[in-house]
């Protein structure tokens, strides 16, 4: 089994070469604390009695979202994260980005990973134009760099393909347009570690092609890309390695073809 697996791969001889890790996830547990999930959430009397009795536990419920996941990602890898809804993929991604505290275990990264999510919003009341500038400045670009990249970002997003939309407030954009612009802004800078949450599922065919190409470029510039998606084809096209997570536990970590294939057939190892 192992021998056939190895002989299929081209990088067998590379097993003796040390690779540079970019993300080390070491036995990570993540627990969400949901406030107000207990009984009598909205009632004023119960809130008062909670304050008076100084009991914290009653209104707080714990959700154990990630249970002891470990893996190491190396420079130049594109890694897909798959699993059913609520399996902990996005939580894992947010934790790698440093946005969620770990209960136990540690996450070590090279530089600060950048999370690129469809749900993450810039400022909706501002024009796309200003959001491009703000986003780039927030990522740490200098004003000169922003001026240099601005046209490239707008062209890449394709927002202006159907007229001058970039000068309109973002709240007037369709969800696809907003997601495209956000992807374009975040992808304008080379990140050491780029985390993408379902970004490829949005946007039209042409934009999906462009973003796949851009992710390839980002990988080329010595980064590591993580991709969470329910679209197995985009995982297959972008990632050569895939991690399957189910109910907060790591089910399988291996070459994409093998892992996605078994995931689709529902064969848990």
């Amino acid at each position: 089994m192992a021998d056939t697996d190895l002989s299929k791969r081209d990088d067998v001889r590379d097993t003796d070469v040390a690779r540079e890790p970019t993300v080390v996830v070491d036995d990570v547990h993540i627990v969400y604390r949901v406030h107000g999930a207990g009984s009598g959430k909205g009632s004023a009397t119960s809130a008062l009695s909670r304050i008076l009795s100084r009991k914290r536990g009653s209104g707080v419920r714990e959700v154990h979202a990630v249970k002891g996941i470990s893996f190491t990602a190396y420079k130049g890898e594109a890694i897909g994260l798959i699993g059913s809804n609520g399996s902990g993929k996005s939580t894992m991604l947010a934790a790698i980005a440093g946005l969620l505290p770990t209960e136990k275990g540690g996450i070590y990264t090279n530089g600060q990973p950048s999370l690129l999510g469809v749900n993450a919003a810039l400022m909706n009341e501002l024009s796309g134009e200003r959001n491009v500038v703000l986003g780039c400045l927030a990522m740490g670009m200098t004003p000169a760099q922003v001026r240099e990249r601005y046209q490239e970002i707008v062209d890449f997003s394709g927002i202006n393909d159907k007229g001058d939309f970039i000068s309109l407030p973002m709240r007037t954009y369709s969800s696809g347009m907003g997601a495209r612009l956000r992807f374009s802004i975040a992808a304008a800078k080379t990140h050491d570690v780029l985390l993408i949450d379902e970004a490829l599922a949005t946007g039209d065919q042409a934009f999906q092609q462009r973003s796949k190409k851009r992710i390839e470029e980002l990988r080329g510039s010595a980064g590591t890309v993580f991709l969470v998606s329910h679209d197995n084809n985009s995982i297959r096209e972008v990632c050569e390695r895939t991690i399957w997570i189910e109910a907060g536990e790591l089910i399988m970590d291996g070459p994409t073809d093998e892992v996605v294939g078994r995931y689709e057939r529902g064969e848990r190892p």
Partner: protein, 313 residues
């Protein structure tokens, strides 16, 4: 071929790194804990690198604030003027506060107080919401979070500078001639801006953790306004009160900054009980500097202490 007995995991370190634990591997390649809080010095450096972002954010926010209003940014001037008009009617005319002042000067005295107090009031209110209103930005991009409360203070400062134009016209219309004391407006405003930045940082951390606080803030600010002598002279009442209240009123930062600016704009009316006094008691500047430096440093460190927690959960 090596004699591998079990499938090689893609995670396993290879070559010279083989056999290292995850922690050892991370240490060897100098990986840092994701989302860890940088040291105070490194944080300040990151913040300085984002100065263009802070400025662009503040300007963009100021423009966006009135995008829905037809009159647009005219409201930045009209809103404080309407406030002054209401206070003039209630406290000046109905409660007859203006009678103690030299003729026609109460309106200038009132406007300076209202604008100066509102500068601090807005800093507190926007600071409270600085984190919770921008969770999208915080969760999408990495930047020192102190950029946000600082940017909101810059917005308030930009707004104040616009109001200053109105203020200068009001003061001149009251028959007060500009003097050398007008130069003191600049240091007084710098001190107040520092104080506001600090208080905005403090409120931002509290507001990020305890969203209930935003329900409480309007009442606290209203109480503070009435106790600071914005629209009536607090000195009128204070001498009848116990000593410790007199001390509190004397060091109250809102009163201190109002006194500094009232004196700078119009020395003859800053305190109606000492009409001959053209100069401030020196302790006012001492208090002003102490509040500015003290609150700024405390606020900055207090905010930085929770840097890694903003936007979580």
């Amino acid at each position: 071929m090596s004699t591998v007995s079990e499938p090689v995991s893609l995670s396993t370190p290879r070559g010279v790194d083989a056999g290292l634990t995850a922690k050892q591997l991370a240490d060897k390649y100098g990986l840092s804990v994701s989302g860890a809080r940088p040291g105070l010095f490194a944080y300040t450096k990151q913040l300085w690198a984002r100065r263009h972002f802070i400025w662009a954010f503040a300007t963009a926010r100021l423009v966006a604030q009135y995008t829905d209003a037809k009159l647009g940014q005219v409201w930045q001037v009209v809103t404080p003027l309407l406030n002054c008009a209401v206070f003039y009617l209630v406290f000046g005319v109905i409660l007859e506060n203006k009678d103690g002042f030299p003729p026609n000067t109460y309106i200038a005295w009132l406007c300076i107080g209202v604008f100066v107090f509102q500068f601090t009031q807005n800093a507190v209110q926007s600071g409270t919401r600085a984190i919770s209103d921008n969770l999208g930005l915080i969760r999408a991009l990495h930047f020192p979070r102190a950029s946000l409360p600082i940017a909101f203070t810059v917005i308030q400062l930009q707004q104040l500078l616009i109001s200053m134009v109105v203020l200068v016209i009001t003061v001149l219309a009251s028959g007060i001639t500009p003097g050398r004391t007008w130069l003191l407006i600049i240091p007084a405003l710098i001190l107040q801006t520092m104080f506001n930045t600090g208080i905005s940082l403090i409120m931002a951390r509290i507001g990020a953790k305890t969203s209930d606080i935003s329900q409480l803030i309007p009442f606290v600010m209203r109480a503070w306004m009435f106790l600071s002598g914005v629209m009536f002279s607090i000195q009128d009442r204070v001498h009848k009160w116990p000593h410790y209240i007199q001390v509190i009123c004397a060091v109250n930062p809102a009163s201190v900054y109002m006194d500094l600016l009232r004196h700078a704009f119009a020395p003859i009316i800053y305190n109606k009980h000492q009409p001959a006094h053209q100069s401030l008691p020196p302790h006012q500047w001492t208090y002003g500097i102490a509040w500015a430096v003290g609150i700024f440093v405390i606020g900055y460190v207090f905010f930085w202490k929770a840097e890694e927690e903003y936007g979580r959960g």
